[in-house]
């Protein structure tokens, strides 16, 4: 009886229905899509050639490597980690692929299998050491960055390995679709990644671990295997990215993909993934990848020098994060 009195005014206000799904999606992705649209509009205005199917298809066929990496990176960031080794792991799996195919004449599926195995193993080691022993993943993966790059040079004897047509088909547009298998599979990875994140127990645990590890433990959940698995997935995504890059260039380059880890992190952060863990979306990271690539291609097309391209790209990253912080502050206030 007593509590009735206390609560009468409030109970009426409780609304159990969620916000409409479309409204939610609008809130979540609206800002990013607007930024992307704005960039496209600006470049279209500056250059007649930009808004042509050819340009857009080029962009689409260039982004698979970064997209794969961003999928893995998003998950890693969500559990509160970071993976700096992705560029080196990409190069390592590309090198293994190249050497096994070109020097030993292995078929692509076997060489690719080994490359995935190695990349997945390196990711698992990253996870086991950083999560299992509680060492910051920043340091562990920084070490892996050096190790894998060194291993790449050992495998290739520091020489580029030309493979040729056996691998090119993966990066070449399919005639009828004008999109490459690599692109299609990358998009599939985004969709699967988003599904895993939002619709599976695994994804839910990832978000929970990144939000408050101790609360997860006190809820009677063993979190360690999940967090390690996330690093393993990031490693596997490097293997996929390795295949995508090798097929696009027909070559395994031991010095390729240097610094791409920063682009992957930037794409995630532009997409609103928190570096503190517990918040992020694979789809948003993908839009982040698109923004970065549109910027690169667009700037190149209107003839901006490499130096200025870097300055502008950097500014856009900071601006995007600033906007996100502002949006957060506003939504917290309301």
């Amino acid at each position: 009886m007593e509590s009735r009195k206390d609560h009468a005014g409030f109970v009426l206000r409780v609304r159990f229905v969620k916000q409409s799904k479309w409204l939610q999606i609008g809130i979540q992705y609206g800002g990013l899509i607007a930024v992307l649209a704005l960039l496209i509009a600006v470049f279209s205005a500056c250059s007649k050639n930009f808004l042509q199917p050819a340009t857009l298809l080029t962009i689409a066929n260039q982004i698979p490597d970064l997209t794969f990496l961003a999928v893995g990176m998003t998950l890693v960031l969500i559990v509160g980690g970071i993976d700096l080794s992705v560029g080196s792991l990409l190069a390592l799996s590309s090198a293994i692929l190249g050497v096994l195919m070109a020097n030993y004449g292995w078929p692509i599926w076997a060489a690719f299998g080994i490359a995935m195995l190695v990349a997945g193993l390196c990711g698992t080691i990253n996870g086991a050491i950083s999560v299992g022993w509680g060492i910051p993943s920043f340091i562990v993966t920084l070490g892996m960055l050096e190790i894998a790059r060194g291993a790449t040079k050992v495998v290739t004897s520091s020489q580029s390995v030309y493979i040729g047509s056996q691998v090119e088909w993966f990066g070449q547009p399919i005639a009828s679709l004008r999109l490459s298998p690599a692109f299609l599979i990358a998009v599939l990875a985004v969709i699967v990644g988003q599904f895993v994140l939002t619709r599976t127990v695994f994804g839910r645990y990832c978000v929970a671990i990144g939000t408050n590890k101790e609360a997860v433990r006190m809820s009677g959940i063993r979190a360690t295997p999940y967090a390690i698995a996330v690093f393993a997935i990031s490693g596997l995504m490097c293997g996929m990215a390795g295949l995508a890059q090798t097929s696009r260039l027909s070559t395994a380059d031991p010095n390729g993909a240097v610094g791409i880890e920063l682009a992957a992190i930037a794409a995630c952060v532009i997409g609103g993934t928190s570096l503190m863990g517990g918040r992020g979306s694979v789809v948003s990271s993908f839009i982040g990848v698109l923004i970065i690539q549109v910027l690169q291609t667009g700037l190149a097309q209107i003839g901006v020098s490499d130096a200025n391209k870097q300055i502008i790209t950097g500014s856009v990253i900071v601006l995007a994060v600033l906007l996100d912080a502002l949006r957060n502050r506003l939504s917290h206030r309301s």
Partner: protein, 502 residues
């Protein structure tokens, strides 16, 4: 004495929301005296001291220091008139040296460049004055034992210009000898004319050290008396206020004979050889002073800390064992609502749904690893309705709810999971009365359904009202267990202090 007292407070009041933690406290402290402040947990001692030293603002009332109006805005303004406080938690910077910590706010320098030799010279002088000759000024504070750290902290306060020194439980981490050294210094300071306000649970210390004693109860001033005119039993009687006991709501027990959980000789860190049984349908309270080992005991039972010895036996797990991870405890039928819901109870930035179902995703809310989001929403909604949680919608992040409603979510997640034995650590801390009532009813309904509930609380009234039996912890041991028909506030208070009265 014609001079005004060093510090006077008049009608000091502190409110947090609708809760009065301090009401209408009028007292005074003189220079050249050691003035003890005693009371049960939550009596308002620490709050009073924080107000005096400018750490929290008063909601009402006035203060006079040395005869002048005194209205501190922050710690700096209290230090500028000569008030120093040493709080329960250490405020040292572990990686810096002892000397740097001592002079942190006024490092000797020339144009910004540290004068290391002067610094260590001055630090040496301060430490020597307090007989801390064994402490090297260059050592990093973190490499010192807790006792020495505490001494450095006190020395830091005393090294500054100090007319009134406030010490909040300074001996909690000290050994007997260190305490004795500290007392010598304090007596010397008193003789030099410094006023000292001294908070302690250790009534024997208070009796031997202090000149006068002020007793607080439930945020109210009870009495100030000369120490010589009071025994420790009288202190306890005044703190517990037995005669002022309120009427207790009718209590109905649901206790059965069958034992739900048998705890045997748990030893974990500070907790020493604790055994007890909880029966089905029983509400078993555990009280004791802060630092008596209550939370540590629950954590050891739940597997959150790994106990060094002991056994926990549940109906499903006949041969006793120790849990090494909460997951094992949960699988065996335990649930624990943690003391600090922000630290380890809830995912604050996540939604009500996510928090409500977190413990039960497997197998209740998933099939083949895929979430059953519809089921999650249904359960979260019904929990919100049942527990009368005030919220906008179930997608709202838990961090935006009030404390009481957060606590309801923290409990709801275990109700959804279900368990045989529920461990509650401070289930109503920082919660308004209405939510508190709701949680009592909730615990009662658990008991009615044959669940065993262990409730740790600093709030004795709460346990007296809800529990069938109350055990008292003191100094890491479970000293006594009282049944409902045999208990009294005074007996329980006596047991709580039993380890601290010589």
């Amino acid at each position: 004495m014609t001079a005004p007292p060093l510090l006077q407070t008049k009608s000091l009041t502190k409110r947090y929301g609708s809760v009065n933690v301090l009401s209408d406290v009028t007292m005074h402290a003189r220079d050249g005296e050691i003035h003890a402040l005693v009371g049960a947990n939550g009596a308002g001692k620490s709050t009073l001291c924080k107000i005096i030293s400018g750490l929290v603002p008063a909601s009402g009332g006035t203060m006079k220091f040395d005869g002048n109006d005194y209205r501190p805005e922050n710690k700096q303004s209290s230090e500028s008139v000569g008030i120093q406080i040493v709080q329960q938690e250490l405020n040292l910077i572990g990686t810096l040296s002892v000397a740097e910590n001592l002079f942190l706010t006024r490092l000797p320098n020339r144009g910004g460049v540290l004068r290391g030799r002067d610094l260590h010279h001055q630090a040496r002088a301060v430490l020597d004055r307090f007989g801390l000759t064994a402490i090297e000024t260059h050592t990093a504070v973190e490499s010192l034992g807790v006792g020495h750290q505490q001494m450095v902290e006190i020395a830091t306060a005393l090294a500054r210009d100090c007319r009134l020194l406030i010490l909040d439980e300074p001996t909690a981490a000290l050994t007997g000898r260190e305490s004795q050294q500290l007392f010598e210094h304090l007596r010397r300071l008193r003789d030099e004319g410094v006023g000292i306000i001294y908070i302690s649970h250790r009534l024997d210390e208070v009796a031997s050290l202090s000149d006068r004693i002020t007793i607080l109860r439930d945020g109210r001033f009870v009495e100030t008396r000369d120490t010589a005119s009071m025994t420790t039993d009288e202190m306890i009687a005044l703190m517990s206020g037995e005669e002022a006991a309120g009427q207790i709501a009718e209590h109905q027990t649901y206790r059965r004979d069958e034992i739900a959980m048998r705890v045997r000789q748990i030893t974990s860190g500070f907790v020493n050889d604790v055994s007890f049984d909880v029966r089905r349908g029983e509400r078993f309270g555990i009280t004791g002073l802060i630092g008596s080992g209550r939370t540590e005991l629950l954590r050891a039972i739940f597997g959150a800390d790994v106990a060094t010895a002991g056994e926990v036996e549940l109906t499903d797990v006949k041969d006793g064992q120790l849990f090494s991870h909460p997951a094992d405890a949960v699988a065996a039928g335990l649930a624990m609502v943690t003391e600090d819901r922000k630290q380890n109870g809830l995912l604050l930035s996540q939604s009500i749904i996510t928090n409500t179902t977190l413990c039960s995703l497997r197998p209740q809310f998933s099939r083949g690893g895929l979430l059953r989001i519809g089921d999650e929403e249904r359960i979260a909604s019904s929990m919100v309705t049942n527990l009368e949680t005030h919220c906008e919608h179930i997608d709202q992040s838990v961090g935006t709810l009030s404390g009481g409603n957060q606590q309801k979510i923290a409990i709801a997640k275990w109700l959804v999971h279900d368990a045989e034995v529920f461990l509650f650590d401070e289930p109503t801390r920082g919660i308004d009365v209405a939510a508190r009532r709701r949680i009592y009813r909730l615990i009662e309904s658990l008991a009615k359904n044959d669940k065993a509930c262990v409730i740790v609380s600093s709030d004795l009234e709460e346990l007296l009202e809800t529990c069938d039996a109350i055990a008292v912890m003191c100094d890491g041991k479970m000293v006594e267990t009282f049944q409902r028909d045999k208990w009294s506030r005074e007996k329980i208070m006596q047991a709580s202090f039993s380890g601290y009265v010589s």
